[in-house]
Symmetry: C2
Amino acid sequence: MSKLRCHISISLDGFAAGPNQSQENPLGEGGMQLHDWVIRLAAWREPHGYEGGEVNESTRIVEESRENVGAGVMGRNMFGPPGGGPWGDEQWTGWWGDNPPFHYPVFVLTHHPRQPLDMEGGTTFHFVTDGIERALEQAREAAGGKDVLLSGGAEVVNEYLAAGLLDELELSVAPVLLGDGARLFDDLGDAKVQLEQVRVVEAPGVAHLTYRVVT
Amino acid sequence: MSKLRCHISISLDGFAAGPNQSQENPLGEGGMQLHDWVIRLAAWREPHGYEGGEVNESTRIVEESRENVGAGVMGRNMFGPPGGGPWGDEQWTGWWGDNPPFHYPVFVLTHHPRQPLDMEGGTTFHFVTDGIERALEQAREAAGGKDVLLSGGAEVVNEYLAAGLLDELELSVAPVLLGDGARLFDDLGDAKVQLEQVRVVEAPGVAHLTYRVVT
């Protein structure tokens, strides 16, 4: 069956973004460090339009995270800057330029209704205003039997976890302490989330930990 | 030079003990799950006086964490139950019976002065009331050139981290979410702790992540 998978980078103290996220600093203070391990990879640079880059133990992790994915779900802060800025502006088309690296339909959770946005290379952004369950339903339908990839941020991942809708969680743990910011696993309320460790992979400057949600 | 090393088990959401720690439940609600990976090992059972147990990828981690250690430091909650109970009682000799598994001098941080306590097998508990730096000084002296092992709990580890006194941190991350309790990496204040990933080891039901503190 089609699974809901999440792959997210966090700090060793559990933050997916640093404090004081803004339009100029969408990952918050220090948040870029969470992605040091990936932006140096050829496997990341090529689909983002950059040349060069490394091949290392993280390469297969990045490649596998893209396998068998038919649609995506993301929070509004991943699509655009929080708190005003161009958010809600019909001109804003995401952080990724004209040809985003997804190449499948992506369902963006938001409070602002908007027409779907067709980008180059097969990515269409759909804006969903009626909640995480409806977004997942639509993504599953669009995925045509393949998996749905949840990209973040932390708040949205926490909502899917608390609702018991997430099947698999891959954490790329950076050797960084952010001290504050958007914390993964916060606000799970009374949800009893049971995890099973699937695998642990050592790579330069990052630890990749994969878990199955068994509840 | 003699290093201050710490090896501690934490939940995936960063707690070294669950909520509501008490004399009956010193690890807090759900906290025992953090140690499932270790209590099943022969390498843990033998020094604690139990028979049997497994040998797996965690065995060398446990064995290495005991190598070249000449003295220990621990917080008062690791030595005895918090909030009253027999704590402060001259009858209390720790959680470990007559022959504790340390076999070296252990410096217990406390607010209650007490004479040193000689146990069987070479363990002596010393009670230090004048702070973490003095405890480390005494432990280093007792270690005779070997390393000092900091056992926890989270609060004490955080204090040593914030003070820039910790050299190496090994985290054994259990696939468990506790939601609340004693959180590692909390209250570091303005301390800018820089870490370097040393190694990542996959073992049954646990991920062992080792970091060097580079500040």
